[in-house]
C-alpha cells in the first residue's frame, strides 16, 4: 500500500491525495491527524476532523468508485485554517451522487430495549452532518467536490 502523497494545493494546513481504498484512507487519516497535531490543532477539533473525514472518505470509496479501480481512484484533500476551525475540501473523479443530492441527515431508529434489532449501518451521513457546518456538494468538470466547515468549538447536532 502506498501512503498519502503530500502536494502543493489549496489548503494552507494540509494538501494531500491518496487512493480511494479503506486501508489507504486509514493511513491518510492517521498522517493527517499527526500533521494537524504538529500544527497545534487541539485534540477535540482533530477528533471531529477524523470522524467527519472518515465518513466522507468511506462514502467516496463505497459509492463514487464502486468498481474498485484503485489505481485511478484517488481522493484529494485540502484543509485550511478558517477562524480557528477547519475548512475542508474533498475531491474525487468517481461517479456523481445520485440526483446530485447529499443523503439525508436522519439518524437510524434504534430501540435500546431490543438490541437484536439494532441497525448496523446508516450512521455515516448523519455523523458527518452532525460534525460539519455548511456541508455542500458540487460537481465540476467530472469532479465531485465536497466542502464543509468544522468550527473551533463543537456545536453537535444531536
Amino acid at each position: 500500500m502506498t501512503g498519502p502523497s503530500w502536494r502543493e494545493g489549496h489548503g494552507d494546513l494540509i494538501s494531500v491525495c491518496f487512493c480511494a481504498e479503506v486501508g489507504a484512507v486509514r493511513a491518510a487519516l492517521i498522517a493527517v491527524d499527526a500533521s494537524l497535531q504538529e500544527k497545534g490543532i487541539d485534540r477535540d477539533l482533530r477528533d471531529r476532523a477524523q470522524i467527519a473525514l472518515a465518513e466522507a472518505c468511506n462514502n467516496i470509496v463505497e459509492h463514487a468508485y464502486p468498481v474498485g479501480d484503485t489505481i485511478k481512484a484517488m481522493i484529494g484533500l485540502d484543509i485550511a485554517d478558517d477562524r480557528g476551525g477547519l475548512q475542508i475540501t474533498l475531491r474525487d473523479r468517481g461517479l456523481p451522487m445520485p440526483d446530485g443530492q447529499l443523503p439525508g441527515i436522519a439518524w437510524p431508529a434504534i430501540d435500546p430495549d431490543d438490541p437484536l434489532t439494532l441497525p448496523e449501518g446508516g450512521f455515516g451521513w448523519p455523523l458527518l452532518h452532525g460534525m460539519a457546518q455548511a456541508l455542500c456538494l458540487s460537481r465540476q468538470s467530472g469532479q465531485n467536490i465536497l466542502r464543509f466547515h468544522l468550527p473551533r468549538i463543537a456545536t453537535h447536532r444531536q
Binding site: V22, D47, Q50, I51, P112, L118, P119, L127, Q158
Partner: protein
C-alpha cells in the same frame, strides 16, 4: 485485528489492542469477536481503552458483535476514549450499551450487584 479474551467464569473481558476500529478492519473485528466469544458463556466486557478512533463502520461492527451474543448475554463497553465517546454519544449508542470508565470499574460494578440467586 488484535483482540484477546479472558474468561472470568460468569463473564469475560475482551480487550482490543488496536488503536482504530474503522472500515478497513470492521469485518476482521466481527470475525475475531465471534471466534473469541463462541466458546464461552456469560456477558462480555469490551475493553476499548486502547482504541482512539471508531468510525460508523466500526460502530456497525460493535452492533454486530452485540447481536452475535444474542438475547441472553450483554455486551458492556469500558474505557471509551474521547473520539469513541463522541461517536457513541451522537449516535445514541450510549443508551444501548452499558458503559463503564474502565474494565476495572466494569468488574467492580458487576461484583457490587446483588446476587440473582438467594
Amino acid at each position: 485485528m488484535n483482540l484477546s479474551f479472558k474468561s472470568h467464569g460468569t463473564f469475560g473481558i475482551l480487550r482490543v489492542d488496536d488503536s482504530r476500529i474503522d472500515a478497513s478492519v470492521a469485518i476482521a473485528f466481527k470475525d475475531r469477536f465471534r471466534d473469541l466469544v463462541s466458546g464461552s458463556s456469560g456477558d462480555v466486557i469490551l475493553d476499548l481503552a486502547k482504541v482512539d478512533f471508531l468510525d460508523s463502520s466500526g460502530l456497525g461492527a460493535l452492533v454486530a458483535a452485540r447481536k452475535l451474543l444474542g438475547a441472553g448475554r450483554v455486551l458492556e463497553l469500558a474505557g471509551l476514549t474521547p473520539a469513541v465517546d463522541k461517536v457513541m454519544t451522537l449516535t445514541r449508542m450510549t443508551t444501548v450499551f452499558p458503559i463503564h470508565p474502565d474494565a476495572q470499574a466494569a468488574v467492580a460494578a458487576r461484583n457490587a450487584q446483588p446476587s440473582a440467586t438467594p
